[in-house]
């Protein structure tokens, strides 16, 4: 296929619109992000405005932050071609140890958190050892782990509930503090929102400059402006909502932890060598090994990392519920896995993004929350969640089998922080109308 000229004029182009939030040649690029927006709007209308009330969105963040934290680790495990079923049990096991450490051994809350992370690391090292160095499939190792750590929780805690102190509860129940003059909003939250908008603007400017240095064509300037305005607007509105809740509430601490992790892990998966190696091992293990990648170390890392994040999620949950119990974290693995797959990861590995998984997790969160607001019974909620998972992945698989660009494919194309603008090509470069997919060579005979 030859390289046709790409229009570099500054004029208005319909396809420029598409570059706003994605790079592909069709509306599918909005994919799961669009689905999230639609679901939010539907529930907002259906619940008579309850969905986007400050109290409710604060609740959503607090209630689902630990699932989303698990989804971050899970997507890396799934990209590498594995699965982790033990996350809920690891969370519960860590929770009971941390609770007991504070109650019986008088650990201060901060030392208990460190202890919890260390416990998670040790569990992860154990599971990673079996997966990476012995070669037992992660499904089996973590199925065993699911039993072992659940049993461990109930054995150590005597199947009882162990309360935790208020200092520790901050990571699950805490909010950004109040300070400064009273404008009727939470100043810290608004300040955070403004800070995020500034960072967005900075990234956009830097992204455009990088593109220029690379000699590639950037989208017209108005695209950048519109993008910053839309994204910045969403952030500011969200900040305002979080800042105007019931007195004493604001943006939750667990949300801050989640946001920091999302940024850190997006960076790790996109911009670091270990991130590249995870994608490489999941995409083609043999090719990766022949390129000098130590696949065992990669597998060990993703399994260990998952358990550390599980420990963190477990501690946040314990903090929020003010106690560690014998059935904490039951079924979490399924929520996390569902979030990852709705967010565009492939069962066969090599494909997936942190951002996609977070959006996938938010879809599930808003769905569950909205249905609960409407008073739908939990049995029906489960049925609906199951169908959403099946349909979301089914549509994507079907699209791919039809040779159409998949939502998954488009999402993974835009991995970097500079975001969608990067992808200047896939919008139909062939004037003749042939899609690039037709250039895929069939398997040739030997």
């Amino acid at each position: 296929m030859s390289a046709p000229d790409i229009d570099r004029s500054g004029g208005f182009q319909i396809r420029d619109l598409k570059k706003l939030f994605g790079g592909g040649g069709s509306l599918k690029q909005f994919g799961i992000l669009g689905a999230l927006v639609v679901i939010i709007i539907i529930f907002q209308v259906w619940t008579g405005g309850k969905t986007l009330q400050p109290g409710n969105i604060i609740n959503i963040v607090q209630q689902y932050s630990y699932i989303l934290i698990l989804a971050i680790g899970m997507v890396m495990v799934i990209i590498a071609g594995h699965i982790d079923l033990s996350v809920g049990s690891v969370a519960a096991f860590t929770g009971i140890i941390v609770a007991l450490a504070m109650k019986d051994w008088n650990f201060p809350w901060w030392a208990a958190i460190i202890l919890g992370l260390v416990v998670g690391g040790l569990i992860g090292a154990w599971q990673g050892f079996w997966v990476a160095y012995i070669g037992v499939p992660a499904f089996i190792v973590t199925l065993a782990g699911m039993l072992i750590w659940r049993g461990g929780n109930q054995f150590i805690g005597d199947s009882a509930t162990v309360p935790v102190g208020t200092g520790f509860q901050v990571i699950g129940k805490g909010y950004l503090p109040e300070f400064g003059p009273n404008f009727g909003v939470n100043n810290a939250t608004m300040l955070l929102g403004i800070l995020v908008v500034l960072v967005l603007i900075g990234l956009e400017v830097r992204g455009r400059r990088t593109r220029k240095v690379m000699g590639a064509s950037a989208a017209p300037a108005w695209i950048s402006v519109v993008r910053v305005v839309v994204l910045g607007g969403v952030v500011l509105i969200a900040a305002y909502l979080f800042a105007t809740g019931r007195v004493g509430t604001s943006f939750p601490v667990s949300g801050i932890i989640l946001a920091v992790l999302v940024v850190a892990y997006s960076f790790l998966t996109n911009k670091t060598t270990i991130g590249r190696h995870i994608y490489a091992v999941g995409g083609n293990k043999h090719a990766a090994e022949l390129s000098g990648v130590n696949s065992k170390r990669v597998n060990f890392f993703v399994m260990m990392n998952m358990s550390v994040l599980s420990a963190l999620a477990g501690m946040i949950f314990v903090a929020r519920s003010q106690a560690s119990g014998p059935f904490d974290g039951t079924g979490w693995e399924l929520d996390a896995i569902a979030a990852v797959f709705i967010g565009g990861a492939a069962v066969s590995g090599g494909i997936g993004t942190v951002a996609g998984s977070i959006i996938g997790g938010l879809v599930m969160a808003v769905l569950s929350n909205g249905l609960a607001l409407k008073g739908i019974q939990s049995d029906l909620v489960q049925i609906i969640k199951g169908l959403v998972l099946l349909i979301a992945v089914g549509v994507d698989v079907f699209n791919k089998s039809q040779g159409r660009p998949s939502i998954i494919g488009l999402m993974t194309r835009n991995k970097s922080g500079q975001g969608p603008i990067e992808d200047l090509t896939s919008a139909q470069v062939t004037p003749g109308g042939g899609t690039p997919d037709t250039a895929v060579p069939a398997d040739l005979p030997r």
Binding site: K271, R276, G283, L290, D423, T425, P441, A442
Partner: protein, 519 residues
Amino acid sequence: METGRSSHPTILEMQSITKEFPGVKALDSVSLTVKAREIHAICGENGAGKSTLMKVLSGVYPFGTYAGDIVYEGAVVRFRDIKQSEAAGIVIIHQELALIPELSITENIFLGNEPGRHGVINWVEAQRRAVELLARVGLDDDPDTQVKNIGVGKQQLVEIAKALNKNVKLLILDEPTAALNESDSQHLLDLILGLKGKGISSIMISHKLNEIEQIADQITIIRDGKSIETLDVKADGVDEDRIIRGMVGRTLGNRFPEHTATIGDVFFEVRNWTVQHPLTTERLVVKNSSFTVRRGEVVGLAGLMGAGRTELAMSIFGRSYGKFISGQVFKDGEEIKLRTVAEAIGHGIAYVSEDRKSLGLNLLDTIKRSVVSAKLGKISRGSVVNELAEAQVSEEYRKSLRIKTPTVEEGVTKLSGGNQQKVVLAKWMFTDPDLLILDEPTRGIDVGAKAEIYQIIRDLAAQGKGIIMISSELPELLGVSDRIYTIFEGKITNELLVAQADPETLMRSMTSSSQKVVA
């Protein structure tokens, strides 16, 4: 046709078969006539189109995806899948055996063809028939033995028993002896001859010309997707040299770059390299092989598929294949240890695999990510990848290697085979290697891209790098190399300067372990 009236009627006639893949004409008006009670050999270089032809015949490529007619037992047949061709008595036994290792011999023989009623298998009947079939192929193992517990030679016999159970009339064997030792091979050849006596015709694809000479009645030679000639072994007095001439007899043309090599000193040397098969401990895939590479030199490694060339290369490249037994590697006069791929890359060695799609590339990746993937550290600070450098580096390679793509952010699957190969080459050039091992660098790519790849290879040599080029295409080896080693059954059998080499000599050394003639 006159053959139709002879004592042996024609069982199969493939008329002007043409089969195209996107961008490649794999078969171009190929004709093949097989008589009843005949062993018909098909000879040709790798990639000549032999296997494609057999896939057309057996319905793997169904009717409608090829042009031309297949006349079988006097009528035009249109197979839509293997089931239909098998029902007609045409059974193909592939190079990679299609047996299930965990199942017993009996279970394998009747797989997909189980005796019994309403889906309930009659194991007594199956057992009885299995014993009978095994006797016919001369296998006296317990039919309850798991297939993984018998050797490759016996597995081959199980395949034939399986074919006999399907009332085979025309048996197609694709490289049946490639993985067998000498006595197993002989047993198999005798069996094929025996089947012929019982009225079963065979089509045999083989690189082992001595075997063909021994058992074939007719030989059809295929070259570049065309049927060149059909030889009658007895009437025409065919010998190996005659077959070789047919296989390679094409003009080299000027698709190879003009070059004057400036060859330096020996800088890379492998001594007494011996490697064991990863699973079968008694099998050595590389035996006591030694060779040298000079700076600025393209060293050809000529061998047919299965000769041990890839195994040799991969075992040197960080022990990526088999079990290391013995041998030493020297670079710039000092012995180096290459225990892992990372160590090999660190010592400036690059290996471009023959299997681009499963070993060379992550097909989910973009071009730019692929290009830097074998030495990410080079564009990273700490462990943070500099994406600007990544884009710049891959953009340079896109230009210098003329990779046809609108941008380096395109996924590698969207490229043609030739351009994918350029990406793989870029990936390894990026590692700043001193020695590049190129395994079938032009496999499955079209002629134009081939010429470009040849030019890239010569350019790399001109920069003073050493190149080992593995290929089974003799014109390519002769056109690009400065010196050529031949390899047969894991042993280096000959070494020739390109000026002294000709296709016949090479093919002879590639198909038999003749005396080593050191140039």
